[in-house]
Structures are given as structure tokens and as C-alpha cells.
Amino acid sequence: MNSLQRMQPPVFPIEKVTIQEAKSFRLNNGIPVYLIEAGTEEIMRLEFVFRAGQVKEHLPLLASTCNLMLSEGSQNYSSEELNRLLDFYGIFFNQSAEKDSAGIVLFFLNKHIEKVLELSREILFRPVFPQPELNSLMKKRLRWYMVNREKVQNLAMDQFFESVFGKSHPYGYQICEQDFENMTSAILSDFHTKYYIPENMTIIISGKLHVKTPELLNSYIGNFGSNKNNTEAPVYPIKGEKSKKIHISKPGAVQNAVRIGSATINKRHSDYPGLKILDSILGGYFGSRLMKNIREEKGFTYGISSTISSLDLSGYKIISTEVGQNNSQRAIDEIYKEINLLQNVRVKNDEMAVVRNYMSGEMLRMFDGPFALAESFKSAWEFGLDNSYYYRLAEKIKTIEPDEIIELARTYYNIEDLYEITVGAE
């Protein structure tokens, strides 16, 4: 009864990504705003980005604490009122402080735009950093920290950053229990005054934009000035630690966490698109060599991946896995073996075709819908780049040759430069 010949359907070329461009303008006080009109529902995503990440802090935890405390009380609202109002209007509110930048993102139904802007103004420009809320937050954070430090993957990640960027750089230093006792309301206010200011921020908005978005933004946010006193953030040298191989003992762990990688170029470098492709072949997708070899062939792990990430002052590549203790060394050997192969053997055409097409599909997903568009916009904009970066990447995906992959693997995956961090039972 089955007369269908189950032959593979033809493979059609993947359409070239076209990226909805952002429109830009400045508020009356000079704050740059980027608007991305997209989507079919009456919803918006509003992001406020400040150059107020860890790299600006002079004390561990300062950037993240300042960010978390923004919503813990303002001139006109207590923390309880802020939280109640955010929830009452169905607003999804995220705070984050990363290595370079910090800020807030709000997702909301368009009909609540005025409330959202009013609350954002309170949170961003009128926080009061009450000491009781701060004490309570730091006690909670210490508990969260202690739970996180039970997980081998966190111990390995923290050590990885310390090894790669050094013990004295905010990209690298590890948090200790003592750090939770150092925050005061005055320190936070000072950090806020220096870095949460119009001169240091950008607004990125996407969605089916409310027609009055520009004028409402101006009326709520466009009048703030600042007493910019030109204080520059402290500058620390980035210097990787000497020891390339570190094992941390975590008694009782049933798996080892493995992290292998090093500092590398970031998005501003012309080799970056090529390196992104090399990284995909190595461990960037389900069909990558590390996944095929270490999970699908040997069954050593539930997952293994390789990623490259850009930072303002640097960048890093990292291979990550959790693996049964008995297979840990074999998995590590296989990782180096795969890197070696990429440095010495040309990638065959059929594998090139798979990675080219997979990544071309991935590019469509990166710009599908208002939220993805905003995130992709931000991650180029942060490096002073625009959509031409993505068009260069798309072009590279189509045209890169196997010889160039070998060249990149030799330049950027020198095995002697790689740090190897393991965390596990013995």
C-alpha cells in the first residue's frame, strides 16, 4: 500500500537574510533611541542599556548590586509598590548586569506604555537604595551564591574567567563570601550617580510600536540631565594567570565539569565571522564534531558545546561539558584531537554544505520577530557595529573555503594557549 518513494525532497537555497533596519533619533537630553518596527501583536520590548557593567566597578558585586537595587525603592515608590505595579500591569521586568553593560528590559502590552515609562523613570533615575532592603538582598544573595557554588559547572566557569582574564580584572576575579558584606547605600548611590546617567545610556525599542512612542519617551525620560563629572572607571590590566591547567576538587561530585578555552578576538576583528564558522564546526550545533564524537558516538556526556563570545576589551572561546568521572580524561583527549584535526585536515565539502546551510537558517532565526531583532541589534551595536556586520557574516558563511578554516584553527586554537579547567570528585 505504500507506493510513495521516500526520497529526499530537493534542497532549496536558504533565502538571504534581510534585516529590518532600526530607526534612530535622540531625546531632548541627547539619549540615543533605536526603534525597530516589527511583529503582529500589540506588544513592545523596551531596553535601557548603560555602560555600567562589572568593568566599571571598584568592588566585586558592585555593578550587579546597584542594578538589582534599582527596583528596591525610589523617591515615589517603595520596593513593594514597584513590584506590585509591575505585576499589576502584566509587565515582564528583567534586570541584568553583565561584564560590560547593565540595564533593564521590559516587555509589555502597548496599552500600558505610559505606566511602563513612569515606572522605568522611577527605577532608573530615582532609586534611593534603602539600607534595610540592601541588607536583606545581600543576605539572600549570599544564600544563592552558596547554592551556586555547589554546582561543578559554576565552579569551573568562575575559575575559567579568573584564569583567562586574571585575578585582578573585573572580567576575571571570583566572588568570595566576604564580598557580600561590603555594600553600603552610599557606595551604590555613588556608582549610580556616575554611571546611570543620560550620557552613558541607550534605549532600544522593538515591537508593533505605539504611535506616540517618541513623544512619550521624551516626556518621561527626555528631561533628565546629570552632573557628569568625567570620572573615568578604574582601568585594570587583563593578564591571564600562568597556570594553564587547574583542577578543583569537589568531593562527592558524580560528574566532572570541563572548561577548555582562552581569550580571543571579538566582533570588531575582521577574522571574527570566520572564527564563528570554525567554532560551529567544532562545537556550535548538534551536528558539530564534538557533539558527534563525544555524545553521539561515545555516549560520554549529555552535552558538549563550543562557543565564542565578545567582550568590549577582549573576547573568549570556551568548550564546555559535564562528563562522567571515568571518561573525563578521554573526553579531554578527544577535544584536543578534534582541534588538531581542524588545524591539519581540510573540512570536506559535504560537511561544509551542512554547516553553511545550518548557519544560514540560524541567521533567519536570529532576526525572526521583534525580540530576536532587538537582541541581535544590541549585540552588534555594543561593539560599534551595524547590520553590515551580519551581512559580512552571512557572506562569509557562503564563501569561506576549507583552507581558510585550517588557517583560522592554527591562528586561534593554539593548544598551548588553552586553559584547561576541571572540577570533580578527586
Binding site: 521516500r6 525532497p9 554546582k151 555516549g299 560520554f300 537558517g361
Partner: protein, 415 residues
């Protein structure tokens, strides 16, 4: 408002289509009506292991992933107590490749011994990573058999015992496939840049020729009413003591579901939830606390879980949670909180339906529940919950002899 059309092939495969031209992609979701509740108690974890095997090659296609990646596609899957769900997104020009791949593995798997051997190791590593190598990771392994004595929800989807996974053989795997994987036991949803006509034509072409199968009838023992409070204590070397409490509730399709979901959101929905404001921020007894429903299809659970601050006794923690629930019961002025959580449901529904993958997963799941229109009218069901219904549900479910508690005690000495 999500517009969709539905049709059923002669072999019983149900298909739902929602066109959204604003995306260059199509999402394809195939839900199989089989989960860990359908397993034999002596061979648990098989449904989930099987999900892994579905990527190891089918009758005419030796490798599932590579051809999909070759057309720019991306995929994944999950298994829970009720269902096994596979999904992919693909540039619309290449959607037929999705039909080819998914229909072939519905037709028949390759059943390779090598694949079985590898994937059982992968699953054991997954078990180790998620349940053994995380602080508090084993609590679900304790909670299910405490709350359920008879119903197969007494084991988690990953399995009750990894020995079951180690011992399963290829014949048992084959038998599982032919008893559960069938067009008449599946629902496919297609969302995104695909029109109804093309969806219909390709469904007929690729899935139409698959014969329907004799699916193993589901005849699960129902969990008897719990008649006594259950409490166990476990001691672990973790940084904080934790409290876990669960209460039995009705099924996903019972009238009380929305009322109870609303109650858990009043208790713990967002930073302004009652447990959060009163016990974390106010009395500072917990460092974190949460409340939610398991949302299982058969009668499920309310779960309240929290980690204690240093120096707080488990009794103090327990009493404080009971007090918060009791207060909710006593008060008559909760109108604003009800409005708040209803607004939040409205908002989260709109946001959830902006992703083609979410829309596809929701359509398929609601069809399984017997009413795909829920994708559009669940918000209304939350909206209809009244104060009286809240009181009634509190009375009915939040009672000690319906409750199981795990006191997860930290043995660590802290300076």
C-alpha cells in the same frame, strides 16, 4: 486571536495549521500521546530514552539531524509524564524536508543496537547531570513516590531507577514503538509561513501512506484519595535547609485547574507574590520560595518549595507557609490581587503566542486535551475565576491530609 484550521487524515493523524506570513520560517510540532505514565513499573524511563532513539535514524534515512541542518533547520524534543513532543523550525522553502524526516520516523525506526547502547549512556549522564550532581536535584525522585502510591506519576519522566535504562533491550524498544508511535496516536501542528493548502497536500503525501496501528490502550490506576498527612525528612550536605510541600489536585481539564493556577500566582507569581512579600522580604525566613502546579493531564500537584535563611527552623518555615495560605483563606479583600494575576495571564498569553514554536506546541497540546480553541480562550477562563471559587478550592485542596512534605535538612555546620 490565533486563526487555525484542522483536518484529520484517514489514518487518524490530526493536523492543525496556523499561517503567519510575518516570518520566513515554519514550525512543525509532532506530539505523540505517550509519556512516562504509559510505562511498565519495571521499565521506567523508556518513553524518554525512546525520544533519544528517535534521532538515531529511521527506515529510509540513516541520520535525522544532518539532512535537517542541510536545509537550515533546527530541532529538539522533550518527554514528560504525559507526552513526547518533537519540534523543528525550518526556512519555509524547505518545509517538505521536515515532512520527509518526520513521516519516515513515524513509519519505522532503524532500531540499531549501537544507537541504543550509546543513547542509554547519554541518558544516564543526563540523569547524573540533572538529578545527582545538583544540590537538591534528587528531591523530585523523593517527592513523586511520596505523593503517589499507585498512579505512574510516582516516577519521574527520566525513570525511577537507572537500572531500568541499563537493562532495556532492543525488542522492548521495538515493542514500545509499535504500541505507541502511530499516526492515530499523534497530533501535528504547523505554524508560520505555510498555507493550509500546502500543509494539507504535504501531510497527505508524506503521512497519508502510513497505516494506522493498534495502539496500546491506556488503562491507568487512579490514585486513591490521600487520607493522612505524609512527612519525610532527608539529610543532605547542602548549604541551606529546604522545605517542599505538595497537595493533590484534579486533572488538567478539571474546572478547578484555572482557579488553582490563579491561587499559586497570588501566592508566588512574581516579586509581588504573597509568599515572596511576606516570607522572603517581610519576615526574612526564606531566601527564595515558589508555588506552582505540575499541570499534568491526570490529577496533578500543587508544589510549594523554598530554601530557608540561616538560623530558621524547619518548623518555623512550615508554620509560616501554612499561615500565608490560611490568611488567604480568611480575607475577603483580594480583588486587586486577583485582577493583578489575571492581567499577568493575559500578558503572558500574548507573549507566548508571538513565537511560532510556542503556538505550534500549544495548538498540539490543546488538541490533545480535546479543545484547540483553548489557545484563544484560556485567558477568559482565568478571567471567570471568582472569589467564591478561590475559597472553595482552598477548602477542598489545601488540607493537611491531602499534603505531603519533605523536610530537606542541611547537615552542614556553618561558622
Amino acid at each position: 486571536m490565533i486563526d487555525y484550521k484542522k483536518f484529520t487524515l484517514e489514518n487518524g493523524l490530526r493536523v492543525l495549521v496556523h499561517e503567519d506570513k510575518s516570518t520566513p520560517l515554519v514550525a512543525m510540532n509532532i506530539l505523540y500521546d505517550v509519556g512516562s505514565r504509559d510505562e511498565d513499573p519495571g521499565m521506567t524511563g523508556l518513553a524518554h530514552l525512546f525520544e533519544h532513539l528517535m534521532f538515531g535514524g529511521s527506515l529510509n534515512i540513516p541520520d535525522y539531524d544532518t539532512p535537517l541542518q542541510l536545509v537550515g533547520g533546527e530541532n529538539n524534543a522533550f518527554t514528560n509524564n504525559d507526552i513526547t513532543n518533537y519540534y523543528l523550525t525550518i526556512p519555509s522553502a524547505n518545509i517538505e524536508t521536515g515532512f520527509w524526516l518526520e513521516s519516515d520516523r513515524m513509519l519505522e525506526l532503524d532500531f540499531s543496537q549501537k544507537n541504543l547502547d550509546t543513547q542509554r549512556n547519554v541518558v544516564i549522564e543526563e540523569f547524573n547531570q540533572r538529578y545527582l550532581n545538583q544540590p537538591y536535584g534528587d528531591v523530585i525522585l523523593k517527592m513523586r513516590p511520596l505523593a503517589y502510591k499507585v498512579h505512574p506519576y510516582r516516577w519521574p519522566a527520566i525513570g525511577m531507577d537507572m537500572a531500568h535504562i541499563k537493562n532495556v533491550n532492543i525488542d522492548q524498544v521495538k515493542d514500545f514503538f509499535f504500541s505507541h508511535y502511530a499516526p492515530n496516536n499523534a497530533i501535528m501542528s504547523l505554524t508560520g509561513n505555510i498555507g493550509y493548502d500546502l500543509a494539507y497536500k504535504l501531510s497527505e503525501k508524506w503521512f497519508g501512506p502510513i497505516a494506522n496501528r493498534q495502539v496500546k490502550l491506556r488503562n491507568l490506576p487512579s490514585e486513591p484519595e490521600q487520607k493522612e498527612e505524609r512527612i519525610i525528612t532527608v539529610e543532605r550536605d547542602v548549604p541551606s535547609t529546604a522545605l517542599y510541600k505538595v497537595w493533590h489536585i484534579g486533572s488538567r481539564t478539571s474546572n478547578d485547574f484555572y482557579t488553582l493556577d490563579l491561587i499559586t500566582d497570588i501566592l508566588a507569581g512574581g516579586e509581588s507574590g504573597r509568599l515572596q512579600t511576606k516570607l522572603v522580604r517581610g519576615k526574612k525566613l526564606f531566601s527564595e520560595i515558589n508555588a506552582y502546579l505540575t499541570a499534568d493531564i491526570d490529577p496533578g500537584l500543587i508544589i510549594v518549595q523554598g530554601k530557608l535563611m540561616k538560623g530558621v527552623s524547619i518548623q518555623q518555615a512550615e508554620d509560616s507557609v501554612n499561615d500565608v495560605i490560611l490568611d488567604l483563606h480568611k480575607e475577603n479583600e483580594i480583588g486587586e490581587e486577583m485582577e493583578k494575576v489575571k492581567n499577568k495571564f493575559e500578558s503572558s498569553t500574548v507573549f507566548s503566542n508571538t513565537s511560532i514554536l510556542n503556538k505550534a506546541a500549544n495548538l498540539a497540546f490543546f488538541e490533545l486535551l480535546g479543545n484547540p480553541e483553548l489557545i484563544n480562550n484560556e485567558v477568559e477562563k482565568y478571567g471567570n475565576v471568582s472569589l467564591g471559587m478561590v475559597k472553595e478550592a482552598l477548602d477542598k485542596y489545601f488540607i493537611p491530609h491531602n499534603c505531603s512534605t519533605i523536610n530537606y535538612i542541611s547537615t552542614r555546620k556553618e561558622k
